[in-house]
């Protein structure tokens, strides 16, 4: 299995397990509006050093929050919790991706999740493996790059 396949399988699984969200991988990068996107990254090191980055349309972050909290998407608590949900999702996903890729016997140090600007999206796409998803009609990309 190649890295992109690991990204796809793990992301779809974690979306479902953590937030009851169903997704489909996209064959190619879709058109996106940068102003609608938010990003988060985590760095890791074991024998190799790398970065996992997620970008998604803001509606996905609200959906994550709403489903994790068991409320509606237009509830204020879901809107207020969107960034926290997105960071925590990045955290959970990153840990699981790294376990899938490197196995359970390797000790991997993972940073805390950090929100980042959309300007880092193109750079991230150019230097690593990435997988795009449609999540309930909204777009998300998961990327991993290893030095």
């Amino acid at each position: 299995m190649d890295t992109k396949e690991y990204l796809e399988i793990t992301t779809m699984s974690i979306l479902e397990e953590s937030a009851f969200l169903f997704s489909e991988p996209l064959e190619s990068s879709p058109e996106i509006k940068p102003t609608k996107m938010m990003g988060c990254k985590m760095t890791f090191d074991n024998d190799q050093v790398g970065i996992i980055t997620l970008f998604c349309e803001k509606e996905i972050a609200i959906l994550l929050a709403a489903n994790m909290l068991g409320c509606e998407e237009d509830d204020q608590i879901a809107i207020d919790s969107a960034e926290s949900a997105f960071k925590e999702f990045t955290n959970i996903l990153s840990g699981n991706i790294l376990t899938k890729i490197y196995g359970t016997e390797v000790v991997i140090n993972l940073s805390l999740p950090k929100l980042i600007d959309i300007s880092e999206l193109q750079l991230s796409e150019e230097i690593g493996d990435c997988a795009w998803f449609d999540v309930d009609g909204y777009k998300m990309v998961v990327m991993i790059s290893v030095e």
Binding site: I14, E17, S18, A65, M68, L69, G70, S81, S84, A85, K87, E88, N91, I92, S94, G95, N96, L98, T99, T104, E105, V106, V107, I108, L110, L112
Partner: protein, 125 residues
Amino acid sequence: MSYSILIVDDSDIIRTVLEKTIGLTGVDIDKVVSAENGLDALEKLKENWFDLIFCDIHMPKMGGLELFEKLRESSEFKSIPFIVISTEGSETRIMELQKKGISGYIRKPFRPENIKETIIKIFGD
């Protein structure tokens, strides 16, 4: 008998989800208190007694492992069951934690049943 639980996690959404989940277990809960990191947890422990601690590993200021080690050094707190909730997937690291004496480990993403089973295992039905 009712129980008091401390949740230690830097993610406010995880703290909220855990609080809700604990409330739905059916176990008689006196209070659930949240802390953002190990340092915050130590402050909460100055003011409250807890029967169980759920704790993340990777947090700013003070992580879960450091908190656990500090509690183990304390004659007052070392007996409190300490359950790690984390994205940690390394069996090596998990075994190290178990050797140090944690009471259990739950990997994220967790199901409400994982939390309920753990609480019932610690406190009984």
